[in-house]
Point group: C2
Chain length 357, copies 2
């Protein structure tokens, strides 16, 4: 069975096939933008961390786990409060299965990872339920620095994959999408998506918006990841193929990019099928509404796993994140293997993590 | 006239031609490791800065100049006290003439550059005339982080060029070379090389050495750049071609690498002919003594310049640095142009810098 059977194409379907064909024989580079918004400190908004105090360590810990196979900033890999692992497990398995190089970018994380990473000195975002996310000059700086990093990384690869780790990021993404005029519902790391709470926060935040200027909108209701990755996309897509690896948060990047300019011909979005399956989100129609680009969702078949912690992804826990979908798509394209080849690798990694002393 | 007429091969000459042939049709990536040793604060030891207080800004300012064409950390580009420009001018001209991408690594600089860069959080080095350069764990960390960065960057390119900017670095390089048992004299950014002063500092520093362990020697008399770039070379040369871009300082890297292991088959050193012409240094014989690798020196013909500030390089001022030699070599290999094509580009850049308001 070909890996194409594990892919679902949507958005511009014709272009999706072209995108896959276009990157098949080339090199990939995976980049991970880690960031932080204090919006994640609102109780009940995220499961991206074992408890409230550990959420800020999740982005650097995700980055460390990809490099070392364990974390330095915290003792264990990032998990939900009931012990389900970070989607970074899928990312790590995918990248290692095909030796795709990766690089970490600190785009406003509160904590730096203990490894060499691209530093931007961007500030983390504020809680959008109570104040502006960032001031205008931080938004401009984030976009400018994103453009610089995007240009450099794009010149080294045939396909730049961009993933993110920012707890609370689906809420700021929802606010950005709505602020920019798109009809968005969003996904969540929590199976019973706290839709009411998110809508309430977003509505409060949107009240601060006083103009249609997209920079103003990001500054009021966005986060540093959205600004930075949009800058990356904007310059990188002029040079090479770019795959935005993520769900709702990457649609917010796409939305901002549609206002400030990017090259649609080189851009795709890649995610997991669990995002598509999320009935509280409208991911497919949203992508088409924003831009004429291809989208690919991969079903890694975790529903068949013997480990409940892996099966959980298919049941709506942490459906996506750390660029899991995009990196699995890239690994299947590069190696020609499919989801049934991937599952044992993910299980081996799960077993290593959860049976080690 | 071919650019080969502007090159001089030495070290393993047969391999030098092979190295040029091997990288001709590939992609280059230029990396700049910026660093700091308090050894540069010894009066009279360096000209890499307009005055004593501005020396620490030279490495980040060199990095900023490559990115922006001007500096953010200081008002003007780095210069000698009498106004001769940083060799970064040659690097910038070379990289732009052929669109070679570049990336900056902070490997112990006292000041961070105002741009996105690879952060390592390494500490800067101490003054080796009075104390150990670094503790042992910093040396190990620098080598480990260097290995990580080297592996990542190497996987993205056919030829990784590594340059440095560390004021006072020729003195620590001399100490490392002698400490590791090589018969070294060294070059300098100053035409009347303060040989006596350097020897005095080096002899004092070498008295602290109590074992042959190369990590101990770097820790006592080295600097963070040497440790970090050696780690980079060690892993990167397993994956791709590597050109150490520099003079004396890169021989110190080569010396440390010869003790901890690297792949000679993929390694070359590239520098300017002004280093070779320096009678107080013994660069050619030193390279052969350390390793069986090719070396290439380029003569960019600055002696023919109408600007005294460019001609000065050929007269022994700041003969090398910021990877100038290696990046000129790469640009000539990539574009097929020679020194007579390069000179007008360097003059145009010089004119832009020194006639702007």
């Amino acid at each position: 069975m070909s890996y194409l059977d594990d892919f679902e194409f949507f958005g511009n379907v014709k272009k999706a096939q072209d995108f896959v064909d276009g990157v098949k024989s080339g090199n990939f580079l995976f980049s991970l933008a880690i960031s932080y918004t204090e919006t994640c400190e609102i109780p009940g908004i995220t499961f991206a961390g074992a408890d409230k105090d550990s959420i800020k360590f999740t982005p650097p810990a995700d980055a460390e786990y990809l490099y070392y196979g364990y974390c330095k900033t915290i003792d264990k890999i990032p998990m939900t409060p009931d012990g389900k692992p970070t989607p970074g497990l899928l990312t790590k398995t995918a990248l290692e299965s095909c030796s795709i190089p990766h690089i970490v970018i600190n785009a406003g994380s509160k904590i730096s990872p203990q490894l060499p990473f691209i530093q931007t000195d961007l500030l983390h975002g504020q809680n959008i339920s109570v104040e502006s996310a960032m001031n205008n000059s931080q938004v401009s700086l984030a976009v400018d620095y994103g453009r610089m990093v995007g240009r450099t990384l794009a010149s080294m690869t045939d396909c730049l994959i961009i993933g993110e780790s920012i707890p609370g990021g689906t809420t700021t993404a929802l606010a950005v999408l709505r602020g920019l005029g798109f009809k968005a519902n969003v996904s969540s790391s929590i199976p019973n998506n706290p839709v009411e709470l998110k809508n309430q926060i977003v509505n409060t935040a949107l009240e601060r918006i006083t103009s249609n200027n997209p920079y103003h909108i990001i500054s009021e209701v966005g986060d540093p990841m959205i600004a930075f990755v949009t800058g990356m996309l904007s310059s990188a897509s002029e040079v090479t193929k770019v795959m935005l690896a993520g769900g709702t948060q990457m649609t917010a990047v796409l939305a901002f990019a549609s206002k400030i300019g990017f090259n649609e011909q080189n851009t795709a979005i890649g995610t997991t099928s669990y995002i598509i399956d999320d009935e509280s989100a409208n991911f497919k129609s949203l992508v088409s509404e924003i831009a004429d680009i291809p989208a690919i969702a991969v079903n890694p078949g975790l529903v068949n796993s013997k480990f409940s912690g892996l099966k959980a992804f298919s049941q709506g826990y942490a459906k996506e994140g750390v660029g899991a979908g995009g990196s699995m798509i890239a690994s299947m394209i590069k190696t020609g293997s499919n989801a049934s080849n991937f599952l044992p690798l993910a299980e081996k990694e799960y077993h290593r993590l959860f049976t080690s002393l």
